[in-house]
Amino acid sequence: MEYVSPIDERVREPIPFASRPSALEGKRVALLDITKARGSEFLDRVEQRLREHGAQTFRISKEIFSKPASLDVIEEIALRGDLTVEGLAD
């Protein structure tokens, strides 16, 4: 039986992961705060640990957790950072 699919069946090419760094020393790490409650506390701790490993860090926020990151945010991370850590959920 033939049906009209309600689903967009187009297959998208998967975007490959960036290559993994072998060390954190000297790497620029973006810490993305999605604005969920207590996410900044989590990132504070991660930031401290990353710096102990010689990484440079910078903080960046989404407008709100419930919306995808804006292109501006994504571009800034891509331009300024080698790595990203995102603080998800509460």
Partner: protein, 442 residues
């Protein structure tokens, strides 16, 4: 599950699980079994299973380096798997028969029933649906351009062509006459102000609530009268359901998949009703929101289940306003004040008449409701509360809403009975109500 658990314990990297499931179901299965090796999926029509002649699940097939299938083990058979993998498999049970494989069942017993086929494809919300045959979808599209896109539906960014929206409307059980309302509802939900992404994937129970206004209600029969928020009216049930299916299927927000609702609620199956403009003493919702009185429109809100508010004894409008407003005082969390989200109140005709008899317009009602619900900050510093409450002195009065405009009033319901209702909010999403005109030539 037994075989997966036992093979997970063996931990051989040479074992690949092919599940006759959709990806999210297969992922859950593997997680529950603790199976960390590769999992592939073979959803309907089970092409991989058929090509290997799998009649029973589980069936293990050893593939040689030349790609040819060699030995196979059917059901759970510890000795068989030991021999296949060349490892010792301890523990009980030693054997257990499997179940009939999905593709094999169809071939052996004359094919799936059409309705069962819809469930197999995942084209359902848990209830039976109407199969979207090309003829039915064409009738729904009604000569419009089926390739026209209404936009990308988050979170999976499936494109909402009119044809796909029509397929969802067919699945939901809509008549073709409902389609312009469905299209307007989808357009409203895809407006960035609604934030369909957040509403669709949240752990909150929220979903879309569709309110229909204007002349379009009549020929289609959208109910704004007795039982407006309940079951029993095809237009209400199927228009609301069609929008849900667009989000769940075209948008990929399937419950348990990308829809991450902790609990959800039954109203996520559908939530659509008309404003009872004829019983309302006030301008209709769409007029309040800037459209002409003769226009037809849908307004889409994000919210969860309605809470019924009984008040059969108030005689003064101040009393009734306080009853309605205090019913919402516990929304989101009893101590989460103020709330910066829309509370949609459905005011029944008898309650609306009490306000009208006192000469109160909507603005006055809204203002009285806003002013009525106030508590000192000291009483709110329990459990989850807002930064404002934390920073305030004990005696500082805090209101439930940030502004009176967060209180939205719509009149609906039967002529008898003093039961109004308030929908739970969709908190913190920055989701705004969105109104779209219903265009018959869509």
């Amino acid at each position: 599950m037994l075989a997966l658990r036992r093979l997970a314990a063996v931990g051989s990297a040479d074992v690949v699980c092919i599940a006759q499931e959709r990806p999210e179901v297969a992922a859950r299965l593997a997680r529950r079994a603790g199976f960390e090796q590769t999992v592939l999926v073979d959803p309907a029509p089970y092409a991989v299973s058929r090509s290997f002649g799998v009649e029973t699940v589980p069936t293990a097939v050893r593939i040689d380096v030349d790609g040819r299938a060699r030995d196979r083990v059917v059901g759970w058979d510890a000795e068989g798997y030991s021999s296949l993998l060349g490892v010792v498999i301890d523990g009980e049970p030693r054997s257990k028969p499997g179940c009939v494989a999905r593709g094999f069942f169809e071939e052996s017993f004359g094919g799936l029933d059409e309705l069962e086929d819809m469930f197999e494809r995942g084209w359902s919300d848990g209830l039976p649906v109407v199969p979207p045959t090309p003829e039915r979808v064409e009738a729904m599209v009604g000569g419009r351009d089926g390739a026209r896109s209404l936009g990308l539906v988050p979170p999976a960014q499936g494109e909402a062509t009119l044809e796909r929206v029509a397929a969802c409307a067919v699945l939901a059980g809509c008549r073709p006459a409902y389609f312009p309302i469905v299209v307007a509802a989808v357009e409203a939900a895809l407006d960035p102000r609604f934030n369909a992404h957040g509403v669709a994937v949240t752990t909150q129970p929220a979903g879309p609530i569709v309110v229909v206004n204007g002349p379009a209600r009549e020929p289609v029969g959208v109910n704004g009268g007795m039982g407006a928020l309940g079951p029993g009216t095809r237009a209400n049930a199927t228009i609301g359901r069609a929008l849900r299916l667009v989000l769940a299927l075209t948008g990929g927000a399937y419950p348990g998949g990308l829809d991450r609702a902790t609990l959800g609620h039954a109203g996520k199956l559908f939530c659509c009703f008309a404003e009872n403009e004829e019983a309302s003493p006030w301008p209709a919702l769409h007029v309040e929101r800037g459209l002409a009185p003769g226009a037809s429109a849908v307004t889409v809100f994000a919210g969860d289940a309605p809470l019924s508010i009984s008040d059969h004894r108030s005689k003064a409008p101040e009393e009734l306003a306080a009853t309605l407003a205090w019913a919402a005082a516990g929304q989101w969390s009893p101590f989460w004040w103020p709330m910066d989200d829309t509370s949609l109140f459905v005011v029944c005709p008898e309650h609306a008449a009490l306000f009208a008899d006192a000469g109160w317009d909507k603005e006055r009602v809204r203002s009285a409701m806003f002013e009525a619900v106030v508590r000192p900050a000291g009483e709110l510093r329990r459990g989850e509360t807002t930064p404002l409450v934390h920073a305030a002195d004990d005696d500082t009065p805090i209101q439930k809403w940030t502004t009176p405009e967060k209180i939205v009033l719509v009149v609906a319901g039967g002529e008898a009975g003093r039961f109004s209702a308030v929908f739970g909010p969709c908190d913190g999403m920055k989701s705004e109500p969105v109104t779209k005109e219903i265009l018959w030539s869509t």
